[in-house]
């Protein structure tokens, strides 16, 4: 661990960062006493007592088997955006149970998990979980655009820390607040992470529209010469170029534990895509049923009012 610290110190630059580090190094013996193998939740609590807080978030990113290529690409994009994540093998669909996933997260020494679950090659569900104490959220993922799409023209440093922007309606309700906190912890790159790079050249936008969380990733393009000095007008001239990926998260349920536990929230408006498809199918079948019904009705009508015999029927017979 000590070795790692040295690397980190070498990597960080800037006077403020160094000061931070100095503060952290003062705190180090205390932490060692608490124990490194401690659960992150308690770690956070410990950090709360300590004057200096250190974010040691690690995210396990994995997916279920038989995932669609598109969704797999989305997952890989997320991996490239999060330098503090660990990517793991696909998980057998049989093993998509809380216990196995929890075990996996613990094995990989992670404190949170993003699990992409693809069902029927059609629907993508995203599990966002804080391990091991929870909470966890299950989302339905909609409107997926991956980074590979050519119309998303931006680019940014791999591993630079993103700025997280949230729309104001995240503060509207308790479950949104919880989701916001989870997103901050999972998507925010820890300061001074080994793989993270200095400078901030991209921004994540999370906003709630229509009770869905929409995600966008923009590159920040500012005309400038030096890294720390910005001419007055150039902040006004700042533009954003979208990098991608795009997706839209529809929260389904929030659980108290990680991958399980008591349900804290249930989306009252949620309709599963299966139900939607069933409804559409039903609508289509209705067409034929209607035709058959009309036919039988016509038959019944004809039987009930038979034509009277034609008086000229055998006029030309003889």
């Amino acid at each position: 661990m000590g070795k790692k610290r040295k690397q980190r110190e070498a990597e960080t630059n800037g006077p403020a960062a160094k000061k931070e580090d100095a503060a952290a190094s003062e705190e180090r013996p205390k932490r060692t006493l608490l124990g490194w193998k401690e659960k992150p939740q308690e770690n956070a609590d410990a950090a709360a007592t300590a004057p200096s807080f250190r974010n040691k978030e690690k995210v396990l990113v994995t997916c279920s088997r038989r995932i669609n290529f598109r969704y797999r690409h989305l997952m890989l994009n997320v991996v490239s955006l999060l330098p503090h994540c660990k990517k793991d093998n696909k998980v057998e669909s049989k093993e998509i149970k809380g216990a196995t996933l929890n075990e996996l997260v613990e094995l990989r020494n992670c404190s949170s998990c993003l699990f992409f679950e693809c069902r029927k090659h059609l629907d993508l569900y995203l599990w966002m979980a804080k391990c091991p104490n929870g909470p966890s959220v299950k989302f339905l993922v909609n409107a997926v655009h991956t980074m590979e799409e050519l119309k998303l023209t931006g680019n940014h440093l791999k591993g630079s820390r993103p700025i997280l922007t949230f729309s104001a309606n995240f503060d509207k309700d308790a479950h949104w607040l919880l989701l916001k906190e989870m997103i901050i912890q999972i998507f925010g790159t820890p300061k001074g992470h080994q793989k993270s790079k200095p400078h901030h050249d991209h921004v994540f936008a999370f906003s709630i529209v229509d009770d869905h969380i929409w995600f966008r990733n923009y590159q920040i393009a500012v005309p400038h010469i030096e890294s720390d000095k910005v001419p007055r007008g150039s902040l006004e001239k700042m533009t954003l170029v979208e990098v991608g990926p795009r997706f839209c998260l529809n929260p389904i349920k929030i659980f108290g534990g990680s991958f399980g536990g008591p349900t804290l929230y249930e989306n009252p408006f949620y309709v599963s895509p299966n139900q939607i498809r069933a409804l559409q199918k039903k609508r289509k079948t209705g067409k034929y049923a209607k035709k058959v019904k009309a036919k039988t009705r016509r038959k019944m009508h004809e039987l009930s009012n038979p034509l009277e015999p034609d008086e000229f029927a055998d006029m030309w017979k003889e």
């Binding site: 800037g14 006077p15 939740q41 950090a47 709360a48 807080f53 974010n55 669609n68 490239s80 955006l81 104490n133 909609n142 409107a143 997926v144 980074m147 023209t153 680019n155 440093l157 791999k158 591993g159 630079s160 820390r161 993103p162 700025i163 949230f166 729309s167 104001a168 309606n169 995240f170 503060d171 509207k172 309700d173 308790a174 919880l178 989870m182 925010g188 300061k191 901030h200 994540f204 936008a205 906003s207 529209v209 009770d211 869905h212 929409w214 923009y218 920040i220 500012v222 400038h224 890294s227 902040l235 700042m238 954003l240 008591p262 349900t263 804290l264 408006f269 949620y270 939607i276 609508r283």
Partner: protein, 310 residues
């Protein structure tokens, strides 16, 4: 398939925030009626919501707040750890989800405002935050991918330019046609006007009774660019088209004028015989009459030859 667009459903409930949903009573009943009507119209919805909140949906507010308190970072964490910005830009109006442009614009403005705020904070803290132009490191997208992006942009630009050029050519063609038509029209009008003025001038001249002195200033001028040649209505029978003597030469043969001396007569006969004035070529050419006329040809054509031999 994978890209699911949100449908055009515009349920009333969409705008209602969640906490209002919880104590939702008679409100839902009203909106249910409306949404039922809409449901019949919409087809092929990819992402629909329940028209009405599920009554038994779990919402453990206290549990959520407890969990939030458990998991969240301590309050005094410096901002540099979180790097979060709350942007209050959507407050004034709800964004229509199905209007792609408006939605994306809302996201963009949110990100832009957030970035401005964050950069302001960075600046006040005195931290370097912008990437220097000579800082090269691994990017999220590879160079080959960016090359593709660039080529696509260029191709798009080229397409647009080509389309514009085509459009311009088409328009200029149309314009040229119009100009041509205008010119022809103008020419015809000018011609007409000139004819008119000549007619007018003539009428005037007739009215004024032909002054002896025909040296009107505009007479030659009118002929110069007015009517080229006015054929007189008189027909002159027995005059060859090329004869400029006015048929006098022919007439002179048959009539024999009085008061003319012998010498003049002779002259006349000679003129009529050999031609005087007019195009020689036309008069000397063979016509159907002359070829059929065998009077001048002696039968002994061969004898003449013999003579020549001798």
């Amino acid at each position: 398939m994978a890209v699911k667009r949100r449908g055009t459903a515009a349920f009333d409930e969409d705008e209602v925030p969640e906490d209002e949903m919880n104590d939702l009573g008679d409100e839902a009943v009203d909106s249910e009626l409306e949404s039922d009507e809409e449901e019949d119209e919409e087809d092929g919805e990819e992402d629909v919501k329940l028209p009405e909140a599920k009554a038994n949906a779990v919402y453990d507010r206290d549990g959520i707040m407890d969990k939030l308190g458990d998991m969240s970072w301590p309050q005094d964490v410096p901002w540099i750890q979180r790097l979060t910005v709350d942007v209050d830009s959507q407050q004034e109006k709800e964004v229509d989800v199905n209007d792609d442009l408006a939605r994306e614009l809302a996201f963009y403005t949110q990100a832009l405002e957030g970035t401005r705020e964050a950069f302001g904070k960075f600046e006040s803290m005195g931290l370097p935050f912008l990437r220097p132009s000579d800082y090269y490191a691994e990017m999220v997208k590879t160079d080959s991918h960016m090359e593709k992006v660039k080529s696509r942009l260029l191709a798009e630009k080229r397409n647009i330019e080509e389309a514009e050029e085509r459009k311009k050519a088409r328009e200029s063609k149309k314009l040229a046609k119009e100009v041509q038509a205008q010119k022809q029209k103008e020419r015809a009008k000018q011609k007409k006007d000139e004819i008119e003025t000549v007619k007018k001038w003539r009428k005037q001249r007739q009215k004024s009774g032909f002054p002896e002195n025909d040296k009107d200033g505009d007479l030659p001028l009118d002929f110069e660019d007015g009517k080229p040649f006015v054929k007189s209505g008189k027909k002159r029978p027995g005059v060859t088209p090329g004869d400029r003597s006015g048929g006098k030469s022919r007439q002179g043969v048959g009539k024999g004028r009085k008061g003319m001396d012998k010498k003049m007569k002779k002259r006349e006969t000679r003129d009529s015989k050999f031609g005087f004035g007019g195009r020689k070529g036309v008069k000397k050419q063979n016509t159907a009459e002359t070829t059929n006329d065998l009077r001048g040809i002696k039968q002994s054509n061969a004898s003449g030859n013999k003579k020549r031999k001798r």
